[in-house]
């Protein structure tokens, strides 16, 4: 759909996958830089665990900015704001972690994310990607929304293999175990 294609041109915008009480859904993670002192602001009616994901992502970036090709000066002289739209809906949990990291890297590098791509996975400080729940519901929501390709944790492969293959025939699934793989797949 046009909504998703349009998205892909703006740096800082990443499609995540959410698992709610009424099924799977896609959500967007947006980030933006402004002149400042390196502070992080978060909005979107986020719970504490989801806010922690953004903190972890930024700390990881600060410790690995060179490999990521991010300017040390931008980290020091720009503020970063992360927002997850639809403010009326409370959001929580760690599964947006890799999408938040990707959104921030995209903003700092001023490069947009690959179109029609979505992702879900927890991040850890040492750069690992951890598995998350609700994989079946999330992938069905992704296909409904026109997503062509997803990034999941290697440890979620078993959850995908349990799903009827017909449902996923137009969806490419990438399995990763490290953050660096996520960034390589998403920002091209």
């Amino acid at each position: 759909p046009s909504t998703l294609s349009e998205v892909s041109k703006v740096p800082g915008v990443v499609t995540g996958l959410a698992w709610t009480s009424v099924g799977g859904d896609i959500l967007f993670i947006e980030s933006i830089l402004s002149k400042g002192k390196g502070t992080l602001t978060m909005t979107g009616n986020l719970g504490n665990v989801m806010k922690e994901s953004a903190t972890i992502a930024l700390e990881y970036i600060k410790a690995h900015y060179e490999e990521l090709g991010i300017s040390a000066e931008d980290l020091e002289n720009k503020n970063i704001h992360v927002h997850v739209p639809e403010g009326a809906t409370p959001k929580d949990g760690p599964s947006a972690g890799i999408a938040m990291l990707t959104s921030m890297v995209s903003s700092y590098k001023n490069k947009s994310v690959k179109p029609h791509l979505a992702m879900t996975g927890e991040i850890t400080l040492r750069g690992k990607v951890l598995p998350v729940g609700g994989i079946k519901e999330k992938l069905l929501a992704a296909t409904r929304a026109g997503i062509k390709e997803v990034i999941l944790c290697e440890a979620n492969r078993k959850d995908v293999e349990e799903i009827n293959k017909d449902y996923l025939k137009h969806l490419k699934v990438n399995y990763v175990s490290k953050m660096s793989e996520v960034v390589d797949l998403a920002i091209v």
Copy 2:
């Protein structure tokens, strides 16, 4: 009515549309600059989601001040205060987002907003306008209050089309999908 005409001369004042338990209502968003260090203060008995809308609006402005024709110096050396009158009434939700953005741009540019205009819509960090609820109740409240023109999200068009046309015959409805369109329509 004279109240609304008078409003239109003061920069920073924008008419929003609210949807409460007792029907639709208009509300005003006011903003004002003072000498300072770029801080944002919010008053008016606002809930957290509504405060987040003001934060998002300011971050968007800081990232796009050049296109908006706002001075970088004002962003750095002025504080901005956003108030939503009638302090006795708690207010929340994301639907005042585009009115908050418009109020702030109006204050920074020191240009008043078009008279007899009201607006409702959620804002996102990347500049999109999202649909909101209670469209029918909000538009009836707008006409009762003498509003001649409204700005809504394109995705709310279907909600307007369900309303009896007679009720809206003196109301011009503008549909937008990006913040820049809101600013272009409201500050002339």
Copy 3:
């Protein structure tokens, strides 16, 4: 009574009108300056909405100090403290707004407020005065306390007209719609 006459000589002291569960009452708003960096402190067991009134009043002053004849240096180099006596009684609501504004202007200008005068009304950031509730109870309390003159919002005129005229024959009622009118009437 001597209490009220005495009050009138001290800058920063204004008589407000409150509406409580046991009827109307007068209350005092006090403010005081001290050497500092322009911070605002509030005491008197105040609820959040009443604290917001003080914040709005100070922001209005900072944006309009020239018209008000207030020194920019005092705004920057003095702290202002606002207190509402009788700390044992919790106080809230927006109706002390114009009294707070008047108290602060009186302190910054080091000019006392007109004696035997009381006021009640909500303030907005753009300088409007909004109507408040409990007008009948407040005016009866004012006359009992020896008040000779009150300031009310123009939109409260209808509430006064419903009161038996005999009760108010020794009370002059001023109706205003803008903050600047309040200041002109109160600080002479």
Copy 4:
């Protein structure tokens, strides 16, 4: 008793009168200066209203340091800490206000307070002393503790006159209406 005589030699120590669910009691207000930047710290398991009394007292002192004979340099370059002993007992209410003010003035002037003196009364920012409750219970507790002289608000005179004179024959009662009178009576 020796406890009270000993107290009178240390600047910053003032005897207050409390009214609790089990009757009247005396309490001590202590304050102390240390090198710093003018900050105020409060301990003693104090409720918000009692903390506000300390804030009001310090603001009053900052605005009237010259009349009080306090050095502007000490206000800027010393921190002040106010403590009310017996940390296990929660304490609240405004009636320790004049004792807090007196304790602070005593510390800043490095002059001890008159021995065998106790006091109770609310303070306001403009220097007024307001009446408080529990006068009978407080005065009986004072005589039991060996207090010879008390300071009360003029408006509490009627409460004293209702007490059997025999109970108070060894107690001198001073009535005041302004803070400056309190300081003149207590610090000699």
Copy 5:
């Protein structure tokens, strides 16, 4: 026991006496200095009243550092951290006050505390020691733990005299009324 002897060599470690729902117990107060700006940090699952004791102790030290033989430079250029081990157990109340003061003085002077000594008592800002509860249970716990000597408030003497003398025959009890006596007894 070896645990207690070992303790006595490390500056900043003091044995306190606690009174819990299951009887008396000993607890340790530890403090440590690090390069900094004079800030105080507290850990050990402490309630507000116990945290206040640490604040009072530090303020007392700042006001009396000369008599205590503590360097003004250390107070300004070192942070102090106070910890009460066994983080799983919530702790509160004022009775650790004199142990906290002694621990801090021991750290600032870099001198260890006398071995086999324990103490319990509330501190006040003017240097008084106040009595505390649970004396019998605390002293029995002290003897069980191999403590040879304790410091108590003079006003707790009556509580000791009610205890069967046989229980205390290997315990030396020191009674004090001022902080300076505590420090003189504990740091030799």
Copy 6:
């Protein structure tokens, strides 16, 4: 298993042992440095007691950096972030203390921790290691996860001796009483 071998190459990663309502489990403590001013950030859905463990660990390091071979400059000019993965699970208690200390030392020294090693124990500010609960459940979880060697408090030796020796035959158990022993065993 490969997960654990892989872990051992990254400085700042330590395996801890947790005791939950559903039995024992391993958990990872991660820490990472970034350019900054010596601040400590903690994530991982941690309770207050667990956060206090990180604070104690950092204070201990700041007071003993020389013995630990850590650069004073890194302590001042680097921020440290401590994370405990699996953000969806709330975590609390003091038993991760020695793992947190080890993780931080590993990060500051940029040396990885010995592979196949896990640890559990409370830390105190003076460098002692205290015993913790759930030893049997924790050791069984460790062996299940492929751990070859653990570090426990000396005072937990009795808990190990109660476990059937067959269960532990492939597990080396080290008993310590001081933090310095933990660091010597873990970072080689």
